[in-house]
Symmetry: C2
Subunit: 206 residues, 2 copies
């Protein structure tokens, strides 16, 4: 029987699922055509059809990571500081799915830093994420939830905070259970709300 | 001529230097006996004498990373908030040597997360770093530079902030030149200084 387009797409989905499972279990350092083939119970020959080189496999894994991160369910929240808080909570490894996603993101950094093109792609991904956060911060400032100042600078700081917290929580989940991660984020946001203006903005109206 | 103990130690230092150069250029993902041998202009056979397995090489690289991080020059600062700030500046990639060190730390996370023993070692390393920071925060609180509250919680937040800032600066050095990293750290510290007490501590004396 001839293969249909539907077969082909189903097969691609299976391959992507297998890549994801390998990444969640072993990270980018453990990602290889052989490991994905074993996960699929297929031959490496079949996989070279999808990924002629190891680098094609890594690029696919990074695209998959971005796609799945983009498609993950988001917390609903009112605009202003609650929206900023929800967006930051969406990043932290406080659910099983978010632990897997963070594990894979953190593990991608080694592969990405070793390759200028992949590193540039990552820089753009984090830049877009900061831009989204910056717009939420600007709204929170407009609503008076946060003091005035450069919203891009506040967003860069907030993204730094959650990325570093995620790294520490991955290595030491007992010291950073979800409840404690949320407490630390709330400490951070409380400090932001009381902070002097960042970036030389005007003082708050008295 | 028989080899002396001095020869042997000099050789070990050469091997460690070569491991470090491979890590700085390619990260843990690019670390292999072959790459270190090429860097040393030696045979992989010689290296298996030092590192019987790839995992021994990775463990040596992690020990080397800890040793070099521990031995790096530190900024001098008065106790209190200046000491906290100096310790955080010592972590950020704002000098060439600190860029290499951070590049290698970040790249180590993939290798470490894939191995429970290495992951536990990393968790202990970050725990010790938070403990040192906690003691500095407690002093800053005692001196009135920071509001009262759980100093361990403040240290965990501050360490998160600089780790995440380091990651972003590695990927996007143009968006995060050293001057901007320092500004963002100073925004963070200014917010901490004005923050309500973390961890349910008593309110500051009025």
């Amino acid at each position: 029987m001839p293969r249909t387009k539907g077969d082909h797409e189903a097969r691609r989905r299976d391959v992507s699922e297998a890549v994801w499972r390998v990444l969640a279990a072993r990270g980018f350092g453990g990602l290889s055509l052989r490991a994905v083939a074993a996960e699929l119970d297929a031959t490496t020959g079949l996989l070279t059809h999808y990924f002629p080189t190891k680098r094609d496999l890594v690029k696919h894994a990074l695209d998959l990571l971005e796609e799945r991160s983009g498609a993950r369910p988001r917390r609903a929240a009112e605009e202003g500081l609650p929206a900023v808080r929800a967006a930051l909570l969406d990043i932290l490894p406080i659910t099983d799915a978010a632990v897997d996603g963070n594990r894979i993101w953190v593990s991608s950094w080694d592969a990405a830093l070793a390759d200028p093109e992949l590193s540039g792609d990552h820089a753009r991904r984090y830049g877009r994420s900061r831009d989204r956060l910056r717009d939420m911060v600007a709204t929170a400032q407009r609503l008076g939830d946060l003091p005035p100042g450069d919203p891009g600078r506040v967003a860069a700081g907030a993204q730094s905070f959650v990325l570093g917290l995620a790294v520490q929580a991955l290595f030491d989940p007992r010291a950073f259970p979800p409840r404690h991660q949320v407490e630390l984020l709330d400490d951070y946001l409380a400090a932001l709300a009381c902070a002097p203006p960042a970036g030389g903005g005007p003082p708050p109206p008295s």
